[in-house]
């Protein structure tokens, strides 16, 4: 018992959770959504695709807590079911681009020279291109689908990670232990995988948490513009767009929008908390 107490007291993560209210709120929000994602099928009171035109545009009531949309579908069920697509898309985008950016940026920084220059300029080009326009072009060219939208998001997203990773790798590769490993005759591949990657990965992981909220927002924006999964699938951005057409029936757009807001808010609270926690300058002033 005594041990446990001192563990809670000394563990800096718990300390961070205790002192930073916003971080705690973020963790709670994300935990709730994780629960919803896993148990969406059991939590949803109705089938999210079930249409009932006799019940169209019902305001929130006891049977339909969030009301119904223009096709009489239960909005609460759709919001819950939509969490899988909308949060999942954000997660996939962040993870895929983080892995891609890490590899590209890492190799680029490790090899250096002209290769490095060219790769980084290409990255700059991708990120200076207006995301939404690029996404719209690709989507209207290849047809709107979840896969195409995700692909576009990754295309514009990886350079951020590549840049951070590259900077870290350049810093890490001048360390003595890398030199030592080389002297022992390790191959470049081995050095890269065993010495450099594990030592430069942390800042990319931080960026991933900070970025997750933005990815959710971008995906919601694209699906609002009609670039996500095709219609019957419950997807938050598309549901808000549906609500925009039913402007006078406020509940149609409000609840899916609140869902987007809550997830990105939670992600931002966590990202901020982690950044504060890791930033030694700020930490010094806290204690």
């Amino acid at each position: 018992m005594k041990n446990k107490k001192s563990f809670l007291k000394n563990n800096t993560v718990f300390q961070a959770l205790r002192t930073n209210t916003l971080l705690t709120i973020g963790v709670v929000i994300c935990a709730i959504w994780l629960f919803v994602i896993i148990f969406a099928d059991y939590l949803a009171p109705y089938d999210p695709l079930l249409q009932d035109l006799s019940l169209r545009l019902q305001p929130p009531c006891r049977e339909h807590l969030f009301g119904t949309d223009s096709l009489g579908r239960d909005i609460l069920s759709r919001v819950l079911a939509g969490s899988r697509i909308s949060i999942g898309a954000g997660l996939q985008c962040v993870i895929i681009s983080a892995v891609a950016g890490m590899l590209i940026g890492g190799i680029s920084g490790y090899i250096g020279g002209i290769f490095d220059d060219v790769v980084m300029r290409i990255g700059e080009l991708f990120s200076s291109f207006p995301t939404i326009i690029l996404a719209m072009v690709i989507a209207s060219a290849m047809g709107p689908s979840l896969f195409n939208t995700l692909l576009t998001m990754c295309i514009v997203w990886w350079p951020n990670y590549a840049r951070v990773m590259r900077a870290m790798v350049i810093q890490v590769k001048s360390n003595e232990y890398v030199e030592a490993s080389r002297c022992l005759g390790a191959s470049r591949m081995r050095i890269f995988i065993r010495e450099i990657l594990p030592n430069s990965i942390s800042s990319v992981i931080v960026l991933t948490t900070v970025d997750f909220g933005n990815a959710i927002l971008l995906f919601a924006s694209l699906s609002y513009l009609g670039l996500g999964s095709p219609p019957p699938a419950p997807e938050w951005g598309a549901m808000v767009s549906n609500g925009a057409e039913q402007f006078y029936y406020w509940w149609v757009a409000t609840f899916p929008g609140l869902a987007i807001l809550s997830v990105s808010l939670g992600a931002n609270f966590i990202g901020d908390g982690i950044r504060d926690y890791l930033d030694p300058k700020l930490r010094k002033t806290i204690s």
Binding site: L125, S128, A141, S221, A244, A253, L261, A267, K281
Partner: protein, 339 residues
């Protein structure tokens, strides 16, 4: 002299960037399996082989892509961005027509963002960890978390439909005639004409979309200015200033603020980029006749000349703003020198 050389280098890089942007759109247009002809001709004309052929010839779509690209670059150097497939007007004309509306909205948005962002950030830093700080930090995180399109709908619903404080979508009420076109910014044009009524109406129309455009940037600025002001406040020279008995207000305004501005400036530059991203969404909710709507329709119709035009304009804006920001560093921080 150094600054000039720096500027020169940046401008050369800008030219390469712009060429890269045009190239990218052409590569996409080559890779995508769909056809602008299908997107732009009606079904009846599509069955007519002659019509399709004539259309391809008219727009140079029968040439190989690299030839199309070099023709485009050559024309671009002569100030011709080609003709939009959708509006059938010169892209340059279209951009001139739509850009002022977006510019006016962006300026309003960025002013809103800078003013409130800095204000919140400074108050937060001074009242650190007090309840005011917690609330303002919450507001700024809300700013970067809220989906712009949803916020736009919400504001319209509450302030236009329910309360009637602000006017609905569009740039001007239907009962008023737009001011004579001088700058294209309705508010400025109205002031130039001395028409207060039109000015007030145009300004009111700007408020809701402008706030939506600025929210995200406001959140960024407020967070950055808080943390950078806090960082500066922990430095030794601030302790000296306090030790010599300066009032807290003077310490912050005269000593701390200037130095904390530098990192805020970077965020303002970045913020413009976000602004341009939000533009498509905000303009579509508020039916604002600007570049965002134009780009949206161009993308839907695979109107590649227009897409290149818009992308060039946005990339150019982005680069210019960042150069201005970099030059402002020089002014704010005499230690920064561009070699």
């Amino acid at each position: 002299m150094n600054v000039l050389r720096y500027l020169g280098r940046r401008l050369v890089f800008t030219v390469f960037l712009l060429i890269g942007v045009t190239m990218m759109v052409y590569i996409i247009s080559y890779m995508v399996p769909s056809d602008p002809v299908v997107a732009n001709l009606s079904a009846r004309n599509l069955n007519n082989e002659e019509m399709v052929q004539a259309y391809r010839e008219k727009w140079g779509l029968d040439q190989p892509v690299y030839k199309q690209y070099f023709t485009y670059l050559n024309n671009l150097l002569h100030g011709d961005m080609g003709t939009s497939l959708r509006t059938e007007r010169a892209v340059m004309e279209d951009l001139k027509l739509y850009f002022p509306a977006t510019l006016e909205l962006s300026i309003f948005g960025i002013l809103f963002a800078v003013f409130f962002g800095m204000l919140f950030g400074i108050i937060s830093a001074i009242k650190r960890n007090k309840w005011v700080d917690q609330i303002l930090r919450g507001v700024s995180v809300l700013g970067v978390s809220v989906p712009v399109f949803w916020m736009a709908l919400l504001l319209l619903f509450v302030f236009y439909l329910k309360l009637g404080i602000f006017p609905g979508p569009g740039r001007l009420s239907a009962s008023l005639t737009p001011p004579v076109h001088k700058t294209g910014l309705y508010t400025v044009d109205a002031l130039l004409m001395g028409d207060i009524k039109v000015f007030a109406d145009a300004f009111k129309h700007l408020c809701l979309p402008g706030i939506c455009m600025g929210l995200f940037t406001m959140g960024l600025i407020s967070r950055t200015s808080r943390s950078s002001l806090l960082e500066v406040l922990s430095l030794d020279y601030i302790r000296t200033a306090r030790a010599k008995g300066l009032r807290e207000r003077d310490v912050i305004i005269k000593h701390a603020l200037g130095n904390s501005l530098i990192s805020v400036l970077t965020v303002i530059g970045l913020g413009f980029g976000n602004l341009l991203g939000g533009m498509v969404l905000v303009e579509s909710v508020f039916a604002w006749p600007g570049i965002g709507q134009y780009a949206y329709k161009a993308a839907q119709n695979l109107d590649f000349p227009a897409i290149v035009g818009v992308s060039l304009l946005i990339a150019l804006n982005y680069v210019v703003i960042n150069i201005v920001v970099d030059l402002l560093y020089c002014v704010l921080d005499p230690r920064v020198r561009y070699m």
